[in-house]
C-alpha cells in the first residue's frame, strides 16, 4: 500500500533495495524558495537512493531551527525525532543504542550547533557516535528573523543587527580538536560534492561531520557575505574531487592519473572514497595537516571544501560497549530480567 507509482512518462528506476527515489522523499519543504537546506535535503534523498539504503534502517534527528525542520522534507519512511534546541546529539546518542545496525542522520544548524548546542556538539564528537552530523551553516538565525549566529564572520552587516563584532566559530576546527573521526566541509552550491561526501559519511563507522555552507536567501545572501551563494562560488577551493565507490564495485582508475594525484580511503563497510587532484598531495588522515589547511584557509579567506580529515581506526561509541547482536530494542524479559535465583544471591550480598 505504500508503493509509490512512478510519475507518468518516466521509467520506474528501482534500486537494488527495490525502491524508487520517491520512497526516499519527505513532505514538501516549507523553507524559503532557494534555501540551501532544500538542496541538501535533495542530496540526502539521492545519496540514500543511490546507496540502496532501506529507509527503515535509518534514524533521523534534529534540534531546533530552519535546518532542524528539514528532516521532515526527506525520508518519510524513516523514524525521526525533532528534539530541542541544541540537544539533538544527546537524543541521537541514546536512540542509536537501540539498534546498532541503524545509521543516524542528524541535521543541525550553526545556531543549534555552535551556540546553544556547542557542549553537546563537542561531546558527541569525542564519543564517536555512529552518525552523520550535518550542519547546515548559513551564519544567521532564520526562524527568529535574522540575528547573527556564532559562525557569522566578524564585520558582517545585517539588517537591524548592525555589524557583527565577534570572531566566528569554525565548526570543522571545533570538530577536529574534539577528536571527531570524519570531518568535511562543503557548499550547498556544489551538490555533487555534497552528495559524494554524504555517501562517504554514511559509510563511516563513527561520527561524520559535514559542515555545509548553506546560504540563507532571506537574511544573509549579500554578495560579500561569507555564507552567500556568490561568495561561495567565488571563493570555493576544493581540496580534491571526491567520488564514492560502493562496496564490491571494482575501482576503475583513470590511467592518466599521475602518482600522488589519487588517494583512496577504505571505509568501514567495504566502500572506498576516491580523492582526485589532491592539492599538494593532501593526506586527509593526517590531523596535523587538516589543522594546517583550515588555518591557511582562514588566513587567505578561502572556502576550503572536501574531506578534511578521516580516521577509520577508532571504534564507534556502540562498538566500545560490545553489545549483543540482536538489537537491544528487540530483547525481551528473558534477556533482560535476571533469573529468580539471583534475588537470593543479591540479598546475601547485603548485610
Amino acid at each position: 500500500m505504500n508503493q509509490t507509482l512512478p510519475m507518468a512518462g518516466t521509467a520506474a528506476n528501482i534500486n537494488t533495495a527495490g525502491l524508487t527515489k520517491n520512497d526516499y522523499r519527505g513532505a514538501p519543504s516549507t523553507l524559503c524558495q532557494g534555501c540551501g537546506h532544500n538542496s541538501i535535503s535533495n542530496q540526502i534523498v539521492t545519496a540514500l537512493y543511490e546507496m540502496n539504503t532501506v529507509p527503515e534502517n535509518v534514524m533521523k534527528f534534529s534540534g531546533i531551527g530552519c535546518s532542524s525542520k528539514s528532516p521532515t522534507y526527506f525520508l518519510n519512511r524513516t523514524f525521526g525525532f525533532n528534539s530541542l534546541h541544541g540537544r539533538m546529539p544527546s537524543i541521537a546518542t541514546g536512540a542509536l543504542f537501540a539498534n546498532v545496525q541503524m545509521k543516524g542522520i542528524g541535521v543541525s544548524g550553526d545556531g543549534d550547533t555552535a551556540s546553544i548546542g556547542m557542549g553537546q556538539f563537542k561531546h558527541v564528537m569525542r564519543r564517536n557516535v555512529n552518525m552523520v552530523y550535518i550542519v547546515e551553516n548559513n551564519g544567521v538565525y532564520g526562524l527568529t528573523k535574522g540575528q547573527f549566529s556564532a559562525t557569522a564572520e566578524k564585520g558582517l552587516q545585517l539588517k537591524k543587527q548592525g555589524e557583527n563584532p565577534y570572531m566566528p566559530v569554525d565548526i570543522c576546527m571545533e570538530a577536529l580538536v574534539s577528536n571527531a573521526t570524519f570531518i568535511a566541509r562543503s557548499f550547498a552550491g556544489n551538490p555533487k560534492q555534497v552528495k559524494e561526501l554524504l555517501k562517504a559519511a554514511l559509510s563511516h563507522d563513527g561520527i561524520a561531520v559535514l559542515d555545509i555552507i548553506s546560504p540563507c536567501v532571506t537574511f544573509n545572501n549579500q554578495e560579500n557575505a561569507y555564507h552567500s551563494y556568490a561568495w561561495g562560488k567565488d571563493h570555493e577551493e576544493p581540496l580534491h574531487e571526491i567520488s564514492y565507490i560502493a562496496p564490491r564495485n571494482e575501482i576503475m582508475l583513470e590511467r592518466e592519473m599521475m602518482d600522488g594525484e589519487i588517494r583512496e580511503v577504505a571505509m568501514h563497510d567495504g566502500s572506498t572514497v576516491i580523492l582526485k587532484n589532491l592539492e599538494k598531495g593532501y593526506d586527509p588522515t593526517d590531523r596535523y595537516e587538516a589543522l594546517r589547511v583550515m588555518e591557511e584557509a582562514q588566513r587567505n579567506n578561502w572556502l576550503v571544501t572536501g574531506l578534511l580529515y578521516v580516521n577509520t581506526t577508532k571504534p564507534s561509541l556502540t562498538g566500545i560497549y560490545d553489545l549483543v547482536d540482536t538489537p537491544l530494542n528487540r530483547l525481551t524479559e528473558t534477556d533482560l530480567r535476571p533469573e529468580r535465583a539471583m534475588i537470593d544471591k543479591i540479598n546475601a550480598l547485603m548485610f
Binding site: 500500500m1 525533532n82 544527546s90 563537542k122 553489545l323 537491544l328 543479591i346
Partner: protein, 652 residues
Amino acid sequence: MNKKVNDFSITVGTKNGSGSSTANNTILRSVFKMGIPVSGKNLFPSNIQGLPTWYTIRVNKDGFIGRQESNDIVIAMNPDSFARDLASVAPGGAFFYSDDIKQPITRTDIAIYPMPIKTIVRNDPNVPTDFRDLVGNMVYVGVLAQMIGMDLEKVLAALTFHFKGKQKPIDMNFNALKAGAEWAKENLEKKDPFHLEAMDKTDGFIMADGNTAAAIGSIFGGVQFVGWYPITPASSLAEGLNDYLPMLRKREDGKHTYAVVQAEDELAALGMAIGAGWAGLRSMTSTSGPGLSLMTEFAGLAYYAEVPVVIWDVQRIGPSTGLPTRTSQGDLTFTHFIGHGDSHSVTLLPGDVYECFEFGWKAFDVAEHVQTPVFVLSDLDMGMNQWMSKPFQYPETPMDRGKILTEQDLEELKGNWGRYLDKDNDGIPYRTLPGNKHPMSAYFTRGTGHDEYAKYTEDSDAYLKNMDRLKKKYYNAANYVPAPVLHKNKKATIGILAYGSTENAIFEAQHQLAGEYGIETELMRLRAIPFNNDVTKFIEKYDQVFVVEMNRDGQMYQILLTEYPQFAGKLKSVAYQDGLPAAAKWIREGILAKYETVVSDQKSVISERRKSSGKKTDGKAKATSASKKEAAKKPAKKSAVKPQTSAKSKKK
C-alpha cells in the same frame, strides 16, 4: 540507676574524611546483628576533608528508628566540634572523647569517659603509621562496645563484611577494637544507664541503602540504558548500576544487553535517556534537584512526545552550595509540574529502602505502559544511609512493555495506525519502535504540534484534542502506580497523609500523640501521584487530615489542595525542613499546633482526655468551638506551638 536497655541514641562527632564511616557502620551493623532495631544516619557537610561531620545511631527495641533529636551517648573525636558535642549530650547521658583533645569539660550531669586513643594505637606495632588515624576510630568502637555490651562476635561479622573477607584489614581493625575494649574493661567504671541486650527483632531483615536498592531494582526491571551525571546524593545510584549490572546481567558470550553512559551534564543525561526510551529501551537517569532543573526542558518534551523514561530524583537541599549534602522533600511541586505549559508528572514516592528496590523495576512498567516520564522521588536519607529492610523480592509481575506495534501487527492493521490516536479510549496511544521494517512503521516525533497521525500541525482543534487526551492519560495512570499504604487505626480521630522517608518518625509521633495526648491517628502513606480513590476516601473519613512533609511550604499539601478543593478546609500542613532526617518531635509538635478539638460528642472526649493528661500543650490547641471560630478569623495566629522555633533552640 535505672538501666536503659535497647532504647537510646549514639552520635559520633568526627572530621570529614577521617575514615570514621567504617567505624560508625560497624556500630550500626553490630547492633543490627544483635537483633535490635536500629538506624544510622550520616549528617555530613559538603566537603572532602576537614569539616565537622556527625553520625547518629538510633537504637530502639520497639522499632522507632526515626532520627532521635536528643543525644544520649556522644563520642567526640573532633576538637573543632568538641564544645558543641559536649553541650549536645542529654542530661543523664554519656560522653566519650579522645583524651588528646584538651578542652574544658564543665558538665556534671553526664558520665564522662576520656579515651587514650592515640596511645592505644601507638602501642600496637602492627599498625603502620599512616593507618593510625583510621584504625584509631576502631578504638572508640571498642570502648563503646565494652561499655554498652556490644557482642564482639557480631562486631567481627560486621568488619568481615565491610572488608569483604580480606584478613589483613579485618585483623588490624579488630585488634584495635579489642584493645579499646580491653582498656575500657580495666580502666572505666560504668556510670551511665545504657545497655544493649540481644533480641530477635531484625531476623529476616537485610541492611542496605536506597540508592543501591534502586540500582538493583532497576536491573531486575531490565534496565537497558542509563544516562547520568554525577551529583550528590544521587551518584551512588548510577555507580550501583555499574557495580551490579556486570554480575546480574552476565551472559555466556560476554556481550552486553545494556549501556551506562556518563554524560557531559544533566541536559545530555536526560536527552540520551529520552532518545533510548523513544527507541524502545528501558531507559533511566538519576539526579538530584539542581540536575532536575537542568533537565526541565527535556522532561517537558518527553511528556508531550510521550516517551517512556524513568527519572530518579534523590532529593537534597539546593541549589548550588545550599546544603547540598542534606536531605529534603523539596522537589515535589517542581517535579509535579515540570516542563512548560500544562504538564503533570507521574511520580512514584518510595518510603523505604525496600520500595527503592521495588519501584526500581516497577517504574519501567509504569513508564512504558503509560508512555510518559516517570519520576521517582527518593531522598538523601533513604538514598545514602543504611536502612533495615525486608529482603528484596523477585518481581511478582511480568514486565509490562506497553502498547507496541510490531511488523506483524502493522501487517494486520494494513499499515493503518496513528501514533497519537486514542484507540482504546484510555488516553494511551500505540507506538512503533525504530528498526521496525514495516514501511508504514515510521513516524516523526516532536513536541505538541502534531495530529493523531504524528503529522505536523498547528491546528487549534488538533492541539485541544491532544491536550485533552494527555490529561485523560495522566489521570488514568492512577490505575497503574503503586497504591497508598494505609496503617489502619480503628480508634483514630484524625488522619495523617505523608510520603517518603518520614514514616519511621511519624510512627513514633503517632505513638507519642496517642500515649501522651490521647490523640489517635491513622496514617496513609502516599506512594504515587496521581492519587487513586483510596486517597479520596481517606480524606473524606476525617475532619482533620495533617499532611506531613520535609519542606517549608507544604508541597504535597498544595498538590492535595489543587486536586481536592472540596477538602480544603480539613487539610492541614505540617511542613518542616532543617536539613536533618525527619524526627518525631517536629511532627508531633506540628500536629499539636494545628490540632483542633471538635464539638461532636465523640471528639470532645478526646479533648477531655487531652486536658487531663496535663501536658504542656494546655491552652495551645483550641479547646472550644468559640475559640475555633476566632482562630479562623486570624489564621496567622492559629499555631501556638512553633516546631521550627523549638526545634532550632533545642539543637544549639
